[in-house]
Amino acid sequence: MTKSTSKWVGASLARKQDLRLVTGHGRYTDDVSLPGMLHAAMLRCPHAHARIKSIDVSRARALQGVHAVLTGEDAKRYWGPLPPTIDIGMKVPTVYALATEKAYYMGEPVVAVAADTRYLAEDALELIDIEYEPLAAVTDTEAALAPDAPLLYPEWGDNVQCEWGMTVGALDETFANADHVFEYRLPQHRYSGASLEARAALAHFDAYNRKLTLYCSTQSPNLVRTLVAQTFRFPEHDVQVIAPDIGGGYGNKLQADAEVIPCLLSLATGRPVKWTESRQENLLSGMQCRDYVWYLKVAVSRDGILQGLDAQVYGNVGCDGTCHAAGAGKFLVAAAYVPGPYKWQAFRVATKVAVSNKAPSGAYRGYGKDIANYPLEVAMNRMADALGLTPAEFRRRNFVGKDEFPYQQISGPIYDSGDYAQCLAKLLALVDYDGVKRRQAETQGKSAKYLGIGIASMLEPSGGAVPNCIFNSYEVATVRFMPEGGVLVLTGHQDIGQGTETTLCQVVADELGITPDDVRVVYGDTNAVPYGMGPWSSRGATFNVSCIAEAARRLKTNLREVVANLWQCEATRLDVADGVVVEAGGRTMTLRDLGNQLHLWPGAFGIVPKHVTNPFEVTHYWTSPIASWVPDELGRIRLYSTHPSGSSAIVVEVDAETGKIEVKDIAIVDDCGVIINPMIVDGQLHGGYVQGIGGALMEEFHYDERGQLWNTDLTSYLHPLATDVPDIKCDHVISPSPYTALGTKGMGEGSTIMPCAVMVNAVDDALKPFGVRVSDLPLTPERVIRLLETSAVWRDMYGVGV
């Protein structure tokens, strides 16, 4: 790792985009209007599984102001099936963005309308008559995998989209000789990012320019461009995707599913067509996540050393996790990372991913790392309790040590760096663990409010590199030197609120010896930027920062060579600081003067030495030195470039009478290596953690056994509100990654990974006097009371009639 002077990296710089965003001058997709623009609306299937017997759109077509009414069958004139976004040994169904013969989930788009206004388009939907033949539906994961389950894709012969597994070490022997064997079943429900800006797409097919322009609320305009081109069998270079300001993504905006429907309508009408997803549509189909069940068997020695882990995970991707969105892969990530930050002697994992009649499964903050974290971190607390150890002590005995890096985990990944024990130690101090336990002992039984504290540790593999899909393993970016001495960074990375519009300027400013104000990040336009891939897998601070830092370094080298040539001195005697090229103990030249000389007068001729190929800009390609798709002798591959880590704690007060959980305190200690902007990093920790709290306490897509989704509005799909959470304390450990340009690691997902396990551990701790343990999430007041009702102690104290 070469480290330049860090003047800006490490500073809590205010964000560049904030001025426009706080004044109402941001520009989100729905804010864009084009002349002649039409508005789309979609009629969606009310059944979970149904054959479409007939569709009559004649009355809708007759409505004045309606310009196109298209069914799935009509659409086949324009497009093919949705291409896979991910396919790692998966069964890929033949599905379209509009249902054809069959609809597979409640809310699947069946007919699309383009009309003069959204109001009119919705009027037209009421005039469409569809006859369905409802089919048997299956929603539960294990039911979908049962031999007699109704099949979504009969040609598959089952409902399994993919399965995978590995065994490493002497598993049977380890379990046979273990002092303790613990077993757990831990399910988690279905929820999602549900960003405040739902999806939006504005397509314009210009027949006279043979070009399709798509404004889209997406995390990755380049990926969307490829998927749109593949769907329409349209030349990719004739598709331009523009992603303006994005109102939140969290993984949910990484596909081209319903997003292609306005393209279809524009192709059909020749006019721009905008589709802004309603909240109801967003909850029905705007990508859902989580939804799985784990079976865990753990062998532990009597002195509290973890020995063997035998785990199975059954995932539920709804109707699909490959083409509609890339949800299926997260269960493979989960399987590879369930060993967590601990050392093991033997390991076996098996994953089976089921399709069912729920909405398609996409990515959501965590993408399997959360799934890996949940069961083991809950189990760690329960095992510690059985062994008579504190949760912290049990973890300490089993962590990978800080001197053991790089450490190859039993499941294959190489952990780059970290100090897990220090994170945990700092956490216990930050949350005053002993103080809380003391207060718990003092207050217990004095009122109906029961205090509890939970902790968990985590790994946040970040910077994913996934083979055989569009989520590949490289990043390309350009750093461009301008005539007036300023710098443009051209990147396929997208700012979706995480602040890269600012942090990348900090990185480039340090590398080039300029200020962040001298840099502008250009993003969100596929025709302006290289084919970079956008924020997923927290790859901004791994792939993107490394790529841009390297590009800036190379640009700086080139500029020094140019000046050395001008001044006829050694380039090694030159540096750039505060926007000025300085010769050691000698001449100076501002970058503005240099830019002028290079670009304007006298121009490049004569001043650029022969060996400098391009002094104006550097386009650099970066990939991780440790990710690998070549299986080792045990069949293991390495999908992630860095391994941030951390620990967190939640203090709760559970009201044993009403079941309400009050979150009293939250503390997080995070280790994401070198920090570029501490203010932004803490902001990510806060926001990610509260999303996790949402999943733990209230967010849930509630499908009944018929496959009907019960919460299609925000009175029943519950985001955490300001009143649901306290302030959050953050602290940091910094273990630079040896495998990235600046020692940075990803950090966008770690805080969302932990809260479910931490919350369960906290509530278990609070309810210990009643001898109950959490089995299901989310922990709504009603679910807490149902849990307490199983306790005789509770029934005597608080049951009906007491």
Partner: protein, 170 residues
């Protein structure tokens, strides 16, 4: 029954100090009116049923949901949107300044509604406790920040607004 009513009614209202007269369909929501008829796209739409708060604007000095009012109901009213809060890019309102300073926004989609709710809160309660801030903003969902830095921003804005008032009074 295929006949859709498209009768338009004239509405006259003041938005950010400017008087507008437009003929609109009665069913046009105030949020769509501001965004599409007047091009004031700073008012965001997140749910269209009053739960998310993104479309919160001031109508006659009170915070209301623009998605739960028809534009024609604003006849004669004075509406203030986020665009009207700062006189220019160099003269931000203390609340806007505080949201930037405290990193009280990430994706920014909730921010206009959040700032308007903050305005309303501080107008009636210039010295709110943290709990009062959280109560006052409970009707505005933020998905990015976990609210920590929003609460911090409101605290800062309240202090600055008090200080400037005291300064003016002195």
């Amino acid at each position: 029954m295929n006949e859709m009513t498209t009768n338009r009614i004239s509405v006259k209202l003041t938005v950010n100090g400017t008087i507008y007269t437009r003929a609109v369909e009665p069913r046009l929501l105030l949020s769509d009116f501001l965004r599409n008829e007047l091009g004031l796209t700073g008012t965001h739409v997140g749910c269209e049923h009053g739960k998310c708060g993104a479309c919160t604007v001031m109508v006659d000095g009170r915070a209301v949901r623009a998605c739960l009012m028809f534009a024609i109901q604003a006849e004669g009213a004075s509406v203030e949107t986020i665009e009207g809060l700062a006189a220019g890019a160099d003269s931000l309102h203390p609340i806007q300044r505080a949201f930037i300073d405290c990193h009280g926004l990430q994706c920014g989609f909730c921010t206009p509604g959040m700032i308007n709710s903050t305005r309303a809160l501080l107008a009636t309660n210039p010295v709110p406790t943290d709990q009062e801030i959280r109560q006052g903003l409970a009707g505005n969902i933020c998905r990015c920040t976990g609210y920590v830095n929003i609460v911090k921003a409101v605290r800062q804005a309240a202090a600055e607004m008090r200080a400037s008032e005291t300064g003016e009074g002195a």
